[in-house]
């Protein structure tokens, strides 16, 4: 049988985790994993609550200062959230929920006014330029919708993914980001979105019309985000469902950890988010395209992968959550492989750090996407290559721990081959 099954047998014989095994006991490793998730979502919640207060202050007293404070609160809220993205793949509870919080890319013309260069409805999305904020009475897929009051329920039940189109993102971080920054009309040149605070001003000072409805939208979207994060934090709390799901079977829990690390590193971050945008040379193809905060989003995504492997997370307040780690388990089975993966995770973080440093120095992520920009391409591909390379070692860990057999057992077709050939 597999290495892991043998280990689980030993643990059972010892009647509970013996001290000598504690650091590499799969159940303890999964407990650390769930603790990191719980802390990450709790931090996402508290920073989103701070954003909620900053948004309330902006709406109560619109000014340059209150808008800047709300933007700063949004950027702060992204740091813990992005570190939780590694929990998405491998945990169905998270994956099914994630689209409400971090859906991207979006056709922002659904929500508010856009520049003429944005264009109108497209073949793929008739609602791409709907502009809910300017339109109290809407028609969506032939059905009349009363949008005279912009409420969390309207956004959640009617607008988000309206007409079944994924790019109709009406809620979550990126909808809020658009309402705080506006479109980034600088192409691959310097500068982020530049929405004036007067978009939230009252009376005569209001710019771009419907300031009250815009404020209602921003408030409602922020309230929804807080509610969504509150839900997910509870799923990882001591009696939460997501925690129970990974703890039910230690081997399956380890598979969930490694699936999250590999799928986020490779298909999602290296592929969909970084390389594809680079090859399209489109400044809208950056994850936080309104705020130009993409460098941080990528960095914290990568850090989340490293956190899970090392069993260590630095919280928003600077305190540390740590415990028995996957790294220690791998080191016990194959020390060279553990060293290999730790080194590759470090290499990736250095490459993602170089992107952050360049962006903070004025070379923003969208500028790196410019056609023929060799320096930008080298920076982004440094991250992409690191992420792809670490995925190879993550696969080796799956094999070294004997977990590929478990992945087999999870396949429907193998559990019930006859079902496939009716």
């Amino acid at each position: 049988m597999t290495t892991l099954t043998r280990r689980l047998g030993l643990i059972a014989l010892a009647l509970g985790p013996a001290p000598a095994l504690a650091d590499t006991d799969p159940a303890a490793i999964i407990a650390t994993y769930a603790d990191i998730a719980a802390a990450g979502y709790a931090d996402s919640l508290t920073t989103a609550q701070a954003l909620q207060q900053a948004v309330a202050a902006l709406i109560a007293q619109p000014s340059d200062e209150t808008l800047a404070a709300a933007r700063a609160a949004w950027i702060a809220a992204r740091a813990p959230y992005q570190q939780t993205e590694v929990f998405r793949f491998g945990n169905p509870i998270v994956d099914d929920w994630e689209g409400m919080v971090n859906a991207w890319p979006l056709d922002e013309g659904l929500i508010d006014y856009v520049d003429a260069s944005y264009g109108g409805p497209t073949d793929a999305n008739e609602l791409a330029a709907l502009n809910v904020i300017a339109t109290p009475q809407l028609t969506i897929a032939g059905i009349a919708v009363d949008a005279s009051a912009i409420t969390p329920a309207l956004i959640a039940n009617t607008l988000n993914e309206a007409d079944g189109i994924e790019t109709n993102v009406a809620r979550g971080y990126h909808a809020i980001e658009f309402l705080l920054w506006g479109q980034d009309l600088n192409g691959t040149g310097p500068g982020a979105g530049n929405r004036p605070w007067t978009d939230y001003a009252r009376g005569e000072a209001c710019t771009n019309d419907n300031c009250d409805r815009r404020a209602d939208y921003l408030q409602a979207a922020t309230d929804l985000l807080v509610g969504d994060l509150d839900y997910m934090a509870a799923q990882w709390a001591p009696n939460g469902e997501a925690r129970a799901a990974v703890q039910a079977d230690p081997a399956a829990g380890l598979v969930a950890m490694l699936t999250g690390m590999g799928s986020l590193s490779y298909g999602e971050q290296a592929g969909e988010r970084m390389r594809l945008g680079l090859m399209l040379n489109d400044p809208e193809e950056e994850h936080d395209c309104f705020s130009d905060n993409t460098h941080n989003s990528h960095y914290y995504d990568g850090l989340g992968v490293q956190n899970v492997y090392l069993g260590r997370y630095v919280r928003a307040d600077g305190s540390v959550v740590e415990g028995p780690s996957l790294s220690a388990l791998v080191a016990e089975t194959d020390p060279a492989l553990d060293a290999e993966l730790r080194a590759k995770l470090d290499t990736t973080m250095a490459a993602l750090g170089a992107i952050v440093t360049a962006a903070e120095g004025g070379f923003a992520y969208d500028m790196m996407l410019e056609t023929g920009n060799a320096r930008g391409e080298a920076l982004i591909m440094g991250g992409v290559n690191g992420l792809i390379d670490q995925t190879r070692s993550i696969e080796r860990v799956v094999t070294a721990l004997g977990l590929d057999g478990i992945a087999f057992e999870g396949s429907d077709s193998l559990d019930n081959p006859s079902a496939v050939f009716q």
Binding site: S263, Y266, G271, E272, R275, R396, G405, F421
Partner: protein, 326 residues
Amino acid sequence: MTRTLALALTLVASPALADVPNALTTHLLPGFHAFSTASTALAASARQDCRAEAVQPAYQAAFDAWMAVGDLRIGPSEQGALSIAFWPDDRGFTGRTLSRMIAASDPAVNDPATFAEVSIAARGFFALDMLLYDPAFAYEPGSYPCTLVQAVAEDLAAQAEALETTWAGKFTEALTNPGAPDNALYLTEEEALRAVYTQLLAGLEMTADSRLGRPMGSFERPRPRLAEAWRSGRSLRNVVLSVEAAQALAHALADWDLPQTDAAVAQVHFAAGNIDDGSFQDVTDAVHRLHLEALQQAVRAVRAALEIEIGERLGIAPGFNSQDGD
């Protein structure tokens, strides 16, 4: 039953029986060579007469050749495939980028090295699909779009040649010498085998989920315009060719019979035969949608058969693939 089991156990102990070098020499490398030849012919055809109806036959032939190797996302194809076949394109990048280049008479078409740097949305098969088949892009000889068609075809031929060269050279080295001191990609034969096996399954997943799943949409809201290459009428053809490519690669990889896989592929052909519109534009009709659903199930059954006849037999599970994620 007992004999089957004993035989299976023997084979599990000898994973080296699956033959990656054979897959390279009998399927993959000839496939890249044929694609390169067909792309060179396409470029020549466009050079000689850029009118859409003149270029279309060579375009179809080159796309056919691509499908034999087009679903691979390892080695040089990992990145190389993206600029040859940028699809799906949810946000309409191809139409927008081509329109922008045409409106500006972008001079990138005059220099192959510059053209190789333009957005992948304006390169490869799906740029040609729109230029050659969409009435909105209709053009005359001597116009800018005519030069653009020639530039895309020329660039495609250059990409095909580069892909063939790298597959036959460096990447064959890596796949066939696992564990060599300078081979950081594959440390063991099993890793090389797993990499190729993962591609088999990922290609079929892509066909079921995207080539079929995207136009199918939901029952209430089918999406015919999301079909792959619907303008050129290749949607169904690409589904069938992708399944045949997986079958051929599987046979090249395995030196044993694959009866379940072959039966499942026969079922794909049968299901494909029930489909009237090769570009899936009739998916809005409930009966036609049902036929697509049957085809999708048949494709998934091929994947399941490969898991049993290759994966389980060798005791390997697929690794991560580039389409994990959203």
